[in-house]
Subunit: 510 residues, 2 copies
Amino acid sequence: MLRRWAPLARLLAAAPAAADDLRASVRAWRQANEAQVVRELAAFLALPNLASDTAGIRRNAEHASAMLARRGITTRLLETPGSPPAVYGELNAPGARRTVMVYAHYDGQPVDPSAWATPPWTPTLRAGTLEDKAAAVDLATLSRPIGGEWRLYGRSASDDKAPIVVAMAALDALRHAKRPLSVNLKFFLEGEEEAGSAHLQALLEAHRALLKADLWLLCDGPVHQTRRPQVYFGVRGVMGVEVTLYGPVRALHSGHYGNWAPNPAVEMAHLVASLRDPEGRILVAGFGDDVRPIAPAERDALRSVPPVEDELKGELALGRTEGEGATLAELILRPALNVRGLESGKVGSAAANAVPVEAHASIDFRLVPDQTPAGVREKLEAHLRGLGYHVVHETPDAATRRAHPRLVKLEWGPGYKAARTPLDQPAGLALVRVLEQGAGPIVKLPTLGGSVPMHLFGDVTGAPVIGLPIVNHDNSQHAANENVRIQNLWDGIEAFAAVFVGLGSAWPPP
Amino acid sequence: MLRRWAPLARLLAAAPAAADDLRASVRAWRQANEAQVVRELAAFLALPNLASDTAGIRRNAEHASAMLARRGITTRLLETPGSPPAVYGELNAPGARRTVMVYAHYDGQPVDPSAWATPPWTPTLRAGTLEDKAAAVDLATLSRPIGGEWRLYGRSASDDKAPIVVAMAALDALRHAKRPLSVNLKFFLEGEEEAGSAHLQALLEAHRALLKADLWLLCDGPVHQTRRPQVYFGVRGVMGVEVTLYGPVRALHSGHYGNWAPNPAVEMAHLVASLRDPEGRILVAGFGDDVRPIAPAERDALRSVPPVEDELKGELALGRTEGEGATLAELILRPALNVRGLESGKVGSAAANAVPVEAHASIDFRLVPDQTPAGVREKLEAHLRGLGYHVVHETPDAATRRAHPRLVKLEWGPGYKAARTPLDQPAGLALVRVLEQGAGPIVKLPTLGGSVPMHLFGDVTGAPVIGLPIVNHDNSQHAANENVRIQNLWDGIEAFAAVFVGLGSAWPPP
């Protein structure tokens, strides 16, 4: 492959100096406008953004649309029946031969406000981390520079509003430096990614022409744990299921009826234990049948991923890891079964000596190519039938409960499959080159552990899809006290600016 | 044994007619005073009675003491350092040669108010059951008769305030009928039974002379599921433990870290599954070593227990029972391990795709003779060590978590052992005879499934201890919407009256 790029390599020999200039001017703009950038993000984070909150989601879409419009981007809201609006934007570069689509999502994961130090939609800047008990800083009256290790706390601070604001800041910096874009830009900001992207395919299909691009850049997920920039060429798919088992219709005194009335919490323990072992191995028969073997280029790229395991174990106070010593980057190339919740009866001071009436487990699966949600569902249900369970998908009535010694209710989320773009594809090679001119060697991940519906972008638009994440890994994404590290915003602005200015010339002609 | 009682049997040949007279006059009094009895119970149920609520517990003790005093019972509150007060009472019968102690407890189990149809300490009379959507009836203005199938809802309606009020009503009925007591009565009403009776032994020992009696009657637990009266000669012991497992110190995105960061919910499933199987068999090595074999008289008594399993399975919508077909009465002669709660992460609409930080299981054990709480603790901890767990009893710091690949925190409740009085003991034979004269054949249970600290009464006072329960089995004891069935109050008044009037003469001379 290298021979083919040799003329291009010569062409780019002078590029590092140009990249340095660009970086210096973007940085100078940022240093002069730090509070403004963080305030723009905080204003966006102040809008509650659960996909289930229709009115709130629309306020977010209109807010994002206005942010784009302020940069001269032509915007419109794209909708299909029942969908939250997606924000679409277009910014053409005179003479550019390529179009790059920037994807992010503006909705956020559900919250448990009682677990947050400050309310999830009250963005709070701290001069460090909560773990270090850093004090909150009043953003409205802030006059000093903002430290790179400061954090901004709030739902979606990282996942996934930060990249939207960072892209806008990059455009502001380029306009100030009078540096032209080398590619046409399009934007597609989704409003239900955290709820499973149920309408994404319909949206993409309904607006196929509008959404045509030569590369989709997915600005979701974190940079590497070493804080080095990374790009990812794939993502895992995702699938969720709520599992319910039934005990007696009313809670029973555990002395009078315990070890006679079936205990659903005990049954759930056995059910969950039958699904996977403590090392993460999935025990469902045939679960790995559809797993595509790792390509040689992917295995090569794994070797470029810096080790992070020991540091993470310290940071997370872990006495062990799953996977029998495999690295994190290796493990996320495999499918996963995560128990995200267990609930039955009561524990601690609320515990009563009773046989619980129900037991619940909430499970999310991570899929790899070429697994499908339908295949996962079929295999799990076959596994449970093999254990003697009668599987239902609606709440069973008393007659159904009487009729089946083992009865399980499964409520499946929609889910979607994984995706992986080949690592030796021209757009990807150009993207890596431009980023490495700016920031030195970056991490090239064959797949990210997390899930975005990357497969749809490729399947519907036919374009290559590559992930360009911005935010820190230690952002408590999906949990309480989600945050973004300020230096990641600054680095992100430089990365986006480098891509917007440099990608067009680094990319071989069509 | 029968030969020995032959003279007594002749003496009692005329007794059934006398028993009928007594029952008729007690019933007539009750029919004239139904609302008054239920109102007295409701007033008692209106007092919050968690053992942890010191002020509330004292209000209950004073209220109970006043109820006793209104019947001419000499009362005092017994206390030891740190204990809630126990209510003690004494009512002597001129010429009586025997003294019977009536035990009940006035504290109640913890509540989850959100699960109650009406607040736990707002007693609510309904003209039937909640399940049948029976309407609430205003007790204050009630003028019609109270149906036997009506229910009074409230925490401790059955467990265990009803027997206290029923005993008072029996005394009122006897006074009205001018029927003298045949035994001296004493009362001991405990205030922390549901919290593990931590001070009971100290109380009994401190007041050993005062608490001397020839028979302790434990008025806790329910009558048989067929609604037939029953007495029980033993109880299971009890022991509780809170189990905590640890994942990462902060919740982690399940895509980026799932199947690398250890999932404590999965580990908990494996831990719980290692403790017992879905049939109720305890898998902890040596757990059954201390179990005393069933005596022949106990096995005989089992045959007199009517089958209830099929009806209960229908009522509870059960598709199976644990114990591989053994009867309920057989199963409660065995030790039991009940998982009363599981909690990790979140389920349902609150579920987020994250690796949980902790997993909790709450377990209660039921012990049989001659198991001890210390033995249970030792065996469980040895079992967990055998699985590779490092066992701690306090919340571990980060260094401890880092140092141990498998780490479990166990927080043990105090617990107490089981007890069983021989079935062929004179006081028991007399009690059964008196009750059967009034109500026909009763159920004689070698042991109740539930737990009261019966062993302490026997160990400290040396008296035989027999259970005489009053309340219905379907009372949602220990759970939401606890209730008492009104007919059980009426039957209880007649049973207590029969014992108070008849036991002295049915009992062979000392």
